[in-house]
Symmetry: C2
Subunit: 485 residues, 2 copies
């Protein structure tokens, strides 16, 4: 209960009045019966058990989709009320797809969230977990549009699923957070798009030197994983098809450089890597082997001293554990993720599970930490939904009641292969089960067709499937939209 | 030339170095031959004459669409690289239409802007006009994403068309700019949407009082013109169809109030006004006759002392001359707009025209100042394009050469009628030519169908026609999207 003291000291009635002009103490404790407006207290015998899900990424959303609302009330806490279909995010930066086509509201993924009287979505961040008392501490997100301090509340859980994801790695390089843009959220894609269009227009303003023009229109991507490669490919498509037509004054100044310390697409088959390298080079993407040492406002410095001026810098060098994961007093896997056992449980505590990029098998399981892939997260979410439904049916849904339930089969991950598009209607499909295994790998237009078809069936709702198809068709017919809104 | 001195004093080489790291003096003057990168100097005999268009609203865009790029080079200066299809903007706030469906890039309206070597679009604001020297002074727009001062440059024109539009009227009421949102640009619609969705989610957070919940979900619209009424109608559709389903916990708290000092839709036929009042009331919109005295962060105060708490405040009480129009040393019409004669020329100066909301007939023409309507702006743009093409063909395109050209027929405005949607698949169509005239007026579903069809054929490009139709169809089938991106 130690965090409650800390909480109560910050949350004085004076602050409450200042915030919302009323006097409720604002927090339930497990000893007193919960105030109606003071958070969600422990569930009673007349209620369904409550699953609290932290996060709305692939893992959390797939879990919520699979949970049976007849068995559980579902409470989701996330600063984002939608899931981002990340594999298609790179396409939205240049207008091939619309932003909204790759965002799926949680209420469409699990309608119970908005329909059931005791299921909720809270636009908030989890700030602490009190495993002893089965409670999470949350702070509402206001994003500065309401001039109030964040609103704090606690939620009691019967089962807690941590699906908080990861954060981009910067390797401690100075200036990355200030000057580079990541590519993980819709607002990142919006920022990239706005900056790209601004630079295209700025470079056409009279009085700009040749040198400045070149800088403004130099797009640098750091990180040669699938995200970096797909974004580079989309960008070169945009340049070849749309910039040439819509910004013909500056078309010869725009260039894309992809910087990677090792090899691009290192998880793919060597033949596919070579194909990707050849195709990207052919599309005008300059591939540079290098390590970034420092990022300044208008240029990056490589380890060998090379200075690279840029107008747009996109950073996608993979992900690592986020600060909230670091701060949690839970066992860790190799690499610092939340440690889980074969059933995705956090072993030292009761009723807490962790899935997706924030979790990894603890060493004693003898299993390797799985890669931070949508595929892994999705499979874990699906598995855990089935497991939790099973536990609920066996009367183990309530807090501290699952000890004697048979959990059944362990979670086993089977890699279905990797896909990446590289622009110019070409893609790579690697169907090998691991880096070392042998198996089918494809490159070219057929792969691109498979890639599109596969994503189209995986975009969750029919609405978005329809919109993605429409977006692709209109891009093909009319080109990409260039309004800077 | 007085503004040049002012300019040069601010634009020292030291500043230039700080900005872009080079030394060009940055400005052409009419005496020295223009530097290639220092603005656009006067056109030479080997070039086409240059039409400079200030603004990308209905008037400016319709003009550019009609100008013949074989006769003129077209240079457009505006802080916005697209035109907003304003009649459909209210629908984007609640997700009935996508933002991009109502935005049309200038390069699609007049492709010469990006294809012709001497036609340009500059993302900039006009800050002064030097009519004696046929030059405009501009400042580039950077919007803070590039940490540089705005870049300044001048453009010489052969013909100048001022189509700078108007700005919202606030009647000097304190707090409007700080707390209310206008509904004139795509970013306004985006802000309204984000705030509406934030308030819906905030009101569901545990710990919020009943009173605060009601405030957060009270949407107040000030101004009962077509924009205010259409937005209220869209909002009540959104509440009745989507909020009830997606935000069922708070559905009984959300309300819409429309405040108007006089009568709603005062330019429409009295029968239509009564119909609109009845329909809006039926859809749950509270119509309040009142005058706003003061706007605070969370409530507005009416003249009679009533306090109205709100969570979202949209202000649409019409428009008036903008500050740049005030500052221009040009003749004015009654009401302070730029004065024009029967051929849309600014009479005291050579080669300057003004169209759209920024312009009005001078008193000596004996004509009334036309209403600030898209219809008027569009018609003026169309007329002026034909006139300028005619002047160009008669060898009057170059600066100071149109004195002896026969301008032909005067501009005559014929009102084609007004339309407004009021939600619930109902609209008003008033085909009378003026407020006093008799003529056809329609209300109900048929009007709504006419309204949709009319707008669909008027949305400029085929791409956007297609998208508006698709958006309407998906809203009908799947409901509105609620992702807060």
């Amino acid at each position: 209960m130690s965090y409650f003291r800390h909480l109560c000291s910050r949350f004085s009635p004076t602050n409450a009045r200042r915030r919302f002009g009323y006097l409720s103490s604002g927090f339930s404790t497990s000893s007193a019966p919960p105030d109606r407006y003071a958070g969600l207290g422990p569930t009673g015998a007349h209620q369904k058990p409550r699953v609290v899900v932290l996060g709305t990424g692939w893992a959390g959303c797939r879990l919520m989709k699979g949970l049976d609302p007849a068995i559980y009330d579902i409470v989701c806490v996330s600063p984002r009320n939608h899931m981002v279909f990340t594999p298609l995010l790179a396409s939205t930066c240049v207008g091939t797809l619309e932003f909204r086509s790759v965002a799926e509201p949680i209420a469409r993924i699990q309608p119970a969230i908005s329909r059931e009287p005791a299921s909720f979505f809270f636009l908030a961040n989890c700030t602490a977990i009190d495993a002893d008392n089965h409670q999470v501490k949350c702070e509402s997100v206001t994003e500065g549009t309401e001039k109030v301090d964040p609103w704090k509340f606690t939620i009691s859980y019967d089962k807690l699923v941590i699906a908080l994801g990861a954060q981009p790695t910067t390797f401690g390089i100075h200036g990355v957070y200030e000057h580079a843009i990541f590519l993980r959220e819709v607002y990142h894609a919006q920022e990239i798009r706005r900056k790209l269009l601004l630079n295209l227009m700025m470079s056409d303003v009279p009085g700009i030197t040749e040198e400045e023009k070149k800088r403004l229109l130099h797009c640098v991507v750091v990180g040669g994983g699938p995200t970096g490669v797909e974004f580079s490919g989309e960008l070169s498509d945009f340049i070849m098809r749309d910039v040439r037509q819509r910004y013909s004054h500056v078309k010869d100044y725009i260039h894309v450089t992809l910087i990677e310390a090792n090899e691009i697409l290192s998880s793919f088959d060597v033949r596919l890597r070579q194909y990707a390298t050849k195709q990207l080079t052919k599309s005008g993407v300059r591939l540079v082997r290098g390590i970034v040492k420092d990022v300044e406002e208008k240029r990056i410095i490589l380890n060998d001293g090379t200075e690279v001026p840029y107008g747009l810098l996109v950073w996608s060098t993979g992900v690592g554990p986020s600060s909230i994961v670091h701060s949690l007093d839970l066992p860790k896997s190799p690499g610092g993720r939340i440690g889980i056992d074969e059933w995705l449980r956090v072993p030292t505590v009761e009723d807490i599970f962790a899935i997706g990029d924030c979790s990894g098998f603890i060493e004693s399981t003898g299993k390797p930490v799985l890669p931070a892939l949508a595929q892994v997260a999705e499979r874990q979410g699906k598995y855990l939904a089935i497991l939790l439904n099973k536990i609920g049916k066996a009367n183990g849904g309530r807090a501290n009641t699952a000890k004697n339930v048979d959990f059944g089969e362990q979670f086993v991950y089977k890699h279905l292969g990797s896909m990446a598009t590289i622009g110019s209607y070409k893609a790579l499909v690697d169907l090998r089960q691991s880096k070392e295994a042998k198996g089918l790998s494809l490159a070219g237009f057929i792969s691109w067709f498979i890639w599109r078809s596969a994503y189209l069936t995986r975009v969750i709702s029919w609405r978005n499937r329809f919109y993605v198809a429409i977006n692709w068709a209109t891009t093909f017919v009319f080109g990409r939209d260039i309004s800077r809104i």
